[in-house]
């Protein structure tokens, strides 16, 4: 039978499925419920130095082919989040589920500060969200839109959490297990750019341990009776099945551009989708909007489908599939 364990930036995950940030990541017990449902790792909702109430409603809608949201990074602030993450760890540790913190900020300096503070909760990984599309009015163009800005944030965060030395060239599995090395960081990239691979190269060079791709695409839904956008923020981030081929293409491009591992996120809702993402080059796979249709039970279900598909395709380990779509095609066995 196929085995599902993977190593992401030196962190062992029981399986490659990760709860994506912004979905169900608000509360320790809820993340524990997702871990119980089978997730290999859970990502908390992004937090900032100060608490934020986020945008007024409507903030989240479901349309024919996915979701659109502009929650506006509502969060309790990093101090409260550290406590929530500590609670989460105690609840999920026995399951072997990894915990990923997520942070965002308005300036390079604040990114460094919030990352340093969140590391006090000792999460297994820290995701640096430089790509939320929903706070444009407030924060300006996301850092993820510019290679230089993305690299600057990455370098500042690495320095702040004490890992600016020597990890940048280490690649995926170069860490000693269990040591008190700095917490590896994943930099979350935006698809709303001309060339995502160049941004990926820039954050890798700046010391990123891994890349999460992709954040949502900006979109809008207008109510024709009201004659105005439904979301209070007007535009919002598209997620779900509609964006999956785009996410797969981004992961494929990034895989060719960098050596660090990739968490592939975007519209995955079945074992087939997860295998596709891994064949594009992902080490692990984020699950978010699938919870809308499948509930927290999405994780167990997708894992079951993965095992069945891997068996059918003749794979025993996840690594054998990783990047398979990049290799020379094997002679078709007729």
């Amino acid at each position: 039978l196929a085995t599902l364990g993977v190593t992401l930036c030196g962190v062992d995950l029981p399986n490659p499925l990760i709860l994506a940030s912004g979905i169900l990541g608000t509360e320790a017990e809820l993340m524990a419920r997702v871990a119980q449902a089978g997730a290999g790792a859970v990502t908390a909702k992004s937090c900032s130095l100060q608490p934020r109430t986020g945008h007024p409603n409507p903030t989240v809608l479901a349309w024919e082919h996915g979701l659109i949201n502009a929650v506006g990074l509502a969060n309790p602030g990093v101090a409260a989040e550290v406590e929530e993450l500590r609670r989460t760890k105690t609840l999920i540790q026995h399951l072997g589920t990894a915990l990923i913190a997520s942070v965002f900020a308005d300036t390079v300096e604040h990114f460094a500060q919030v990352a340093a503070q969140i590391s006090q909760a000792d999460p297994d990984l820290i995701e640096i969200n430089i790509s939320c599309p929903n706070v444009h009015d407030e924060f300006g163009t996301p850092f993820a839109a510019d290679a230089g800005a993305a690299a600057e944030v990455t370098a500042a965060v690495k320095e702040a959490i004490g890992g600016a030395d020597g990890h940048a060239d280490g690649g995926a599995d170069g860490y000693a297990d269990g040591g008190k090395d700095s917490i590896p960081i994943l930099v979350k990239l935006s698809p709303n750019v001309a060339d995502i691979a160049s941004i990926a190269r820039a954050v890798e060079a700046a010391g990123a341990d891994g890349i999460t791709a992709i954040n949502t695409l900006t979109g809008m839904i207008i109510d024709v009776h009201a004659r105005r956008p439904i979301l209070a923020n007007r535009s919002g981030g598209l997620s779900g099945p509609a964006i999956r081929p785009l996410a797969v293409r981004c992961v494929y491009d990034i895989y060719q551009a960098v050596d660090i591992p990739i968490v592939g996120v975007g519209g995955v809702s079945s074992g087939r989708d997860a295998v596709e993402m891994i064949m594009a080059g992902a080490t692990a796979v984020g699950i978010g909007s699938a919870v809308y249709d499948l509930g927290p039970e999405a994780f167990g279900r997708i894992l079951d489908e993965m095992v069945a598909l891997m068996t059918e395709l003749g794979y025993e380990h996840i690594e054998e599939m990783r990047g398979a779509a990049h290799r020379e095609p094997v002679q078709a066995a007729q």
Binding site: R33, P56, P58, L61, W63, V71, G288, Y292, G295
Partner: protein, 270 residues
């Protein structure tokens, strides 16, 4: 995917329940179950959750407490209001066929709204319904005639004794439960009241379902805004079954597991 987008509706009729509480019936019909809620949107203002008083047509009872509810109160007949839903888990009637006996419903303040929908369903299914309406003061007691018109027996309690029994709703509930047999207990209202109803249900080994309120965003269980202890109020709730251990001999008419205590009627989400 099933969509969850607001659909336009118009105010068809307006009824004042008190100086601060108003009921609006819309020209929109939904297939919904008692205990479910909708998100009401006023473009440019906000989108907020409200329990359904009735689904056909959609009927909402709204207290004027802030900018959004004030704007809803300012709507005239024919004005537009957008509705997303129905959403959430719903009340279930005991799986006793044919219905024999009575149900006790406890509503605090505006918590009477979803219990009205439940009463209507229960009474038409053949249950007897006793309804306790609890409020701070006489002025806040609403829906008495609505429940009576449906055919429910109504008891009133007020914190200040200005109408009905002086005291809280759960005291009256305890007295009624001592006097008569009920098949199940239902509650909707402020959390301390729900806490008291839960304690009561557990002490009597009586199946109970309670409806909770919380600030919500998506309304369909993905954003986590309304989670409490791993429980998503909008999707796992707002109706929650009290986890009671039923001594099998006492309740042989009811199947063994909690899930079987209430009928499971599938709903079509649109």
């Amino acid at each position: 995917m099933n969509t969850s987008l607001p659909q336009v509706a118009h105010v068809a009729s307006i009824t004042d329940e008190s100086t601060r509480v108003r009921t609006l019936a819309l020209d929109l019909h939904l297939q919904a179950e008692p205990g479910q809620f909708i998100m009401a949107w006023l473009p440019g203002l906000d989108e907020k959750p409200f329990s359904l008083v009735r689904a056909e047509p959609v009927t909402l009872t709204i207290a004027r407490v802030g900018p959004f509810s004030s704007a809803v109160h300012a709507l005239d007949s024919g004005d537009r209001l957008w509705i997303r839903g129905p959403l959430g888990a719903f009340f279930q009637l005991p799986a006793v066929v044919p219905p024999t006996g009575a149900l006790l419903l406890v509503g605090g303040g505006y918590g009477v709204a979803p219990l009205h929908f439940l009463s209507e369903r229960a009474l038409s299914a053949g249950w007897r319904v006793d309804m306790i309406i609890g409020a701070k003061t006489a002025e806040d007691v609403i829906f008495v005639e609505r429940f009576q018109t449906l055919g429910a027996k109504v008891a009133i309690t007020t914190d200040d004794g200005s109408l009905g029994q002086h005291g809280v709703a759960t005291d009256t509930a305890r007295r009624l439960l001592d006097q008569g047999a009920y098949q199940a207990l239902y509650g909707c209202g402020p959390e301390p009241m729900l806490q008291a109803v839960e304690t009561l249900a557990k002490s009597l080994h009586l199946p109970a379902q309670l409806s909770y309120e919380r600030y919500m965003r998506c309304g369909f269980g993905i954003c986590g805004s309304c989670a409490r202890g791993g429980w998503r109020v909008c999707k796992d709730g707002p109706v929650k079954s009290v986890d009671v251990q039923i001594p099998a001999l006492l309740h042989s008419a009811l199947a063994g597991s909690q899930d079987n205590l209430f009928t499971q009627e599938p709903i079509d989400e649109t």
